[in-house]
Symmetry: C2
Subunit: 210 residues, 2 copies
């Protein structure tokens, strides 16, 4: 399997929080924002903020900071969040339904245009405005609706099998919310979302700082 | 606000995936597991695996690898996942309900013993076996049930206010699933779970590797 490894992973993970701080500053009418201000808002070291933001190609101006609009553009452009992206949710259980209603993704131009399930009682229903189709129809719906990304929220025992169906039907990227490490052809991009990772960090913080 | 900063954050985030690989090896009857095997399963560099696992205090044995049982104990002990931990979910919407049914947390000895909401239509209901109480009752329930951690899944507009209620009633740690940066007394430990971070990583992978 080809490895899709990124350098600067922790920096990339922090960029959305910068974006939020800078967008709030813009709403408050600010034209410039300093790295120090961002670092205080997010409880990071100022040098870390400068290093992370340099990834996007932007440099702050002495005594002025970063121009707010340019900074937003730089972050969004680096993340490709200035381009509309279309996806489906596969598995319309509680987590799938929660993601269908998660407006944050729409702000980043990720549009969830369909949901899929194998449970007949869910097919035809709408959750937060998005219709659930039978998984059998995914090939047809990909052609109709033009998405190439899937958010996988099925039970873990059907994760691998479902992911193979997605890959066979032309899905190029899978955001995997199951705890199964998927084995897929090397051209499929997978990002695993592991809630246990967050709990691991919280657990260590509780042990160290309580 | 006091900063609860951890060194080795990416390593800590990876420990749960190591734990899963090693537990699978134990179920398969293996007594030793090599760093190379773990690195292949998780598509990491072998040196990274050795470095991450060294955090827990364990060292591999030449030509043998890591003893499976000791490795599980070392990781669980480092994460404090060998001790029962009790928590509540605050906000019994789709995401809260999904977390109530997320068995992975139980495997790590995190027991969700109550849910809270302000929506009267939810109070008294059970989701995945856990009862929803009125948020007004949280102080009483903390005394009765003995939890000190809250998983915050309320809408973002009530996140800060709800977090203050939790802190006032004796909650010591908040796993924050809202996208609001909470402002709380320095003795409250907060871990923010930002789904946008995962989407940022996926977006960059799609841009680089598609």
């Amino acid at each position: 399997m080809k490895q899709h490894k990124l350098l600067n992973l922790p920096s990339i993970r922090r960029l959305p929080s910068y974006l939020q701080v800078v967008k709030t500053a813009m709403e408050e009418g600010k034209e410039y924002i300093s790295g120090t201000y961002i670092s205080q808002e997010l409880e990071l070291e100022a040098i870390q903020v400068r290093k992370d933001l340099a990834l996007t190609g932007i440099m702050g101006r002495p005594r002025m900071g970063y121009p707010v609009k340019e900074l937003i553009n730089a972050i969004e452009s680096f993340l490709q969040w200035n381009t509309d992206q279309y996806a489906c949710v596969v598995g319309a259980g509680n987590l799938g339904q929660a993601l269908l209603g998660f407006n944050e993704l729409k702000k980043h131009k990720l549009h969830i245009v369909a949901a899929f399930d194998v449970d007949k009682s869910k097919i035809g229903k709408k959750f937060h405005g998005t219709e659930v189709f039978s998984l059998d129809e995914i090939g047809k719906k990909i052609k109709e609706l033009g998405f190439n990304m899937a958010i996988l929220t099925v039970p873990q025992e059907s994760a691998q099998e479902t992911a193979e169906i997605l890959a066979d039907n032309g899905i190029k990227a899978i955001w995997n919310f199951t705890n199964i490490k998927l084995k897929l052809p090397s051209d499929i991009i997978v990002q695993q979302e592991d809630l246990s990772s967050g709990y691991a960090v919280l657990s260590v913080k509780m042990a160290r700082f309580s």
